[in-house]
Amino acid sequence: MSDRLLVATRKGLFTFARAKGRKRPRWSVAKTAFLADPVSVVLADPRDGRLYVAIGHGHFGVKLHRSTDKGKTWQPIAAPAYPPKPDGQEEKDLNGKVIPWNTELVWALEAGHASEPKVLWCGTLPGGLFRSTDGGESWKLVESLWNHPKRREWMGGGAELAGLHSVCVDPRDGRRVAVGVSCGGVWMTEDGGKNWAQRAQGMRAAYMPPDRQYDPHVQDPHLVVQCPAAPEVFWAQHHNGIFRTTDGAQSWTEIVAKPSSFGFAVAVHPQDPDTAWFVPGVSDEERIPPSGKVIVTRTRNGGKSFQTLRNGLPQHHAYDLTYRHALDIDETGDRLAFGSTTGGLWVTEDQGDHWETVGEHLPPVYAVRFA
C-alpha cells in the first residue's frame, strides 16, 4: 500500500502524503522540490527506494537528480547524452526535419529488473533509449536500437520529434524489454538490448492512408503498460484507440471504449490483466473531456465492456486533460491517482469507485507515481 505520491509538474515536484482523517484519509502536500522548474518524469525505484527526477530546463538543457533520502535532499547525476554525431552524417525525418543527436527531453525513466539492482532505463526525445548500469552515474545510448535503419523513419506526434515514452521490463526476465515510441510503434528485445524487433502488429493508425494503416512502424502508442502478474498482457492507449495483446506483443487487438477510446494514459491492475483504467478525451482533434466532465473508464473483462467512473470528479465545465504519465496505480491495485493539465489531482482508494480531489491549483501535471 503506497502512502506517498510523487507529482511531477511543469513547475516543480510535489510529494503528497496520506494521513488518517476523522472521516476519511487525507492526501496533502508534504514536500516540494525544484519549484518553478519543469519536471518531466519521476521514478521511485522499488528496489532501493531511491528517487529520480528529470528536469527539462528551457535554456540549460535536461538534467537528472537523485535522492537517497526519500526526497529530503537531491544530488545532480549524469544526464543521458548522445554520442558525437559522425561527421557529415545528415539525418532528417520523413518531414524533412533535422533529427538532433541531443537529449531534448527525458520522457521515460524506469527501474531495471530486480536481478540488476543498478540498471535504469531512460527514454528521450528524439527517440534514443539509454541504459545505466550504475544507478544513473553514467548513461549509454542503446545503439542497437538507435542505429536500426527503421529508427530514422520514426516521426513526431504531438511533439515535433519522435519520443520514447514507455519502457516495460519483463518481471520474469530482465533481458526482455518492450518500449513504446510516438511515432514508431512498439519495439522489443529479448536479449538485453542486442537485437530489437518491431512488435506493433495489429495496431491501426487512422491518420494514415488505407494501405498504410496497419504498418507497425507508423503506430503512435501514447503509452504501453505491462501487467506484472501476467507479463504476456500489455495494454496500449494509442492515438486513435485502445489496443491489447495477450501474447507478449506478437499481435494486438483493437478495443473500443465508450464514451471514447481517445486519451493518453492507461493503467493495468498489477494482479489482474483484464482490469485497466483510462482517462479519456473526446478525440485527437478535441482534446477535452467528453461533455466537459472528467471521467475515468474501467474495464474488468479485458476490454469487452467499460464502466464510466465519475464519483468525486469534476462534472461541470471541466477541461482537464491527463497526459500519458499522469495516471498511476499502486502495487495493491486499489489506489490510483491522476493529475491534469489544469492542475487537478485525484486519488481513489477503491479502484476508482470514489475519487477524492487532492489538488486543484497545481501546475500542469506531467507525471504521477506512487512511492
Partner: protein, 89 residues
C-alpha cells in the same frame, strides 16, 4: 586573458563566477573555463558541444555567429558573456 561572465539565472543551478581564461576562439576560452567548472559545461553546451538552442554568447557585445564550432575569434582582454536567449521563454 578574456573575461567570461555568465547570466545571473544560471547561478541558481550551478555556480558560475566571472572567470579569466586564455584562448583565441570562443571554443578555446570556454573549454578552459569548463575545465575548471565541469558542471557548467552542460548548462551552456548541448550533447554535440554546440551552444544550446536557447543560449547565446557575446564577445565584446557582438553575438557569436558560429554556434556549432565556436570558432569566432576572441581578442586578449575581450569580454565574453554567456546569456539566455529570449527564445527560451
Amino acid at each position: 586573458m578574456a573575461r567570461v561572465l555568465f547570466t545571473q539565472n544560471i547561478q541558481r543551478h550551478v555556480a558560475c563566477p566571472p572567470t579569466d581564461a586564455p584562448g583565441g576562439t570562443v571554443r578555446e576560452v570556454l573549454d578552459r573555463v569548463f575545465a575548471g567548472n565541469p558542471a557548467a559545461r552542460e548548462y551552456v553546451l548541448d550533447d554535440q558541444g554546440a551552444v544550446r538552442r536557447h543560449m547565446v554568447v557575446f564577445v565584446d557585445g557582438r553575438q557569436v555567429k558560429d554556434r556549432v564550432r565556436l570558432s569566432d575569434p576572441v581578442q586578449p582582454q575581450a569580454e565574453v558573456c554567456v546569456m539566455q536567449a529570449l527564445s527560451g521563454g
